[in-house]
Amino acid sequence: AQSVSQHNHHVILSEAASLELGCNYSYGGTVNLFWYVQYPGQHLQLLLKYFSGDPLVKGIKGFEAEFIKSKFSFNLRKPSVQWSDTAEYFCAVIGTNAGKSTFGDGTTLTVKP
């Protein structure tokens, strides 16, 4: 069975601070990995994804994530957050034969101006 663990439930940062959100997954095979973002009052949308190749992937709005296979991790990073990054962030994994994604519980990021 797939499972995803996000270590931080709520993160509060000041503008220009650096961000790293942890994500670890459990799955006994090849996976595709995703970070989704949900801005207040909106639906989830894709931030970035990894499915093969360079383990450092870049997404929209300056976000990036690194897939470390040996650690079963896919941490999200941003060097300098903005107030507009205030949102909830979800890590998700899909096994190559699973068809359905499993989500972490989400991390609420609050950026203070």
């Binding site: 639906h43 989830l44 899909i94 994604s101 989500f103």
Partner: protein, 115 residues
């Protein structure tokens, strides 16, 4: 417009009533999903469908019924609504075959309140 649409966006109902949430997608994606989002629980999968006439239970299927007679539609029915089903429901679709990665495309959500 292409995309995935949910209706109604907001619904208030009473305990014991039947409620159907509609989901329609225009991409012809093979997979469709229903999630519920609750504070402290993130997103939980209720049911999903790999193709027309093929559905399967997710993590929290009790109290819900789905059908998929056409590829583009995936309605979710609460046969006898309970207060614990007060939630925001998200429909999503994806294409997960060949080179596709399984990225999910979400609808705007349906906020259901059961009194």
């Amino acid at each position: 417009d292409a995309g995935i649409t949910q209706s109604p966006r907001y619904k208030i109902t009473e305990t014991g009533r039947q409620v159907t949430l509609m989901c329609h997608q225009t991409w012809s994606h093979s997979y469709m999903f229903w999630y519920r989002q609750d504070l402290g629980h993130g997103l939980r999968l209720i049911y999903y469908s790999a193709a027309a006439d093929i559905t399967d239970k997710g993590e929290v299927p009790d109290g819900y019924v789905v059908s998929r007679s056409k590829t583009e539609n995936f309605p979710l029915t609460l046969e006898s609504a309970t207060r614990s089903q007060t939630s925001v429901y998200f429909c999503a679709s994806s294409e997960y075959q060949g080179a596709s990665t399984g990225e999910l495309f979400f609808g705007e959500g349906s906020r259901l309140t059961v009194l």
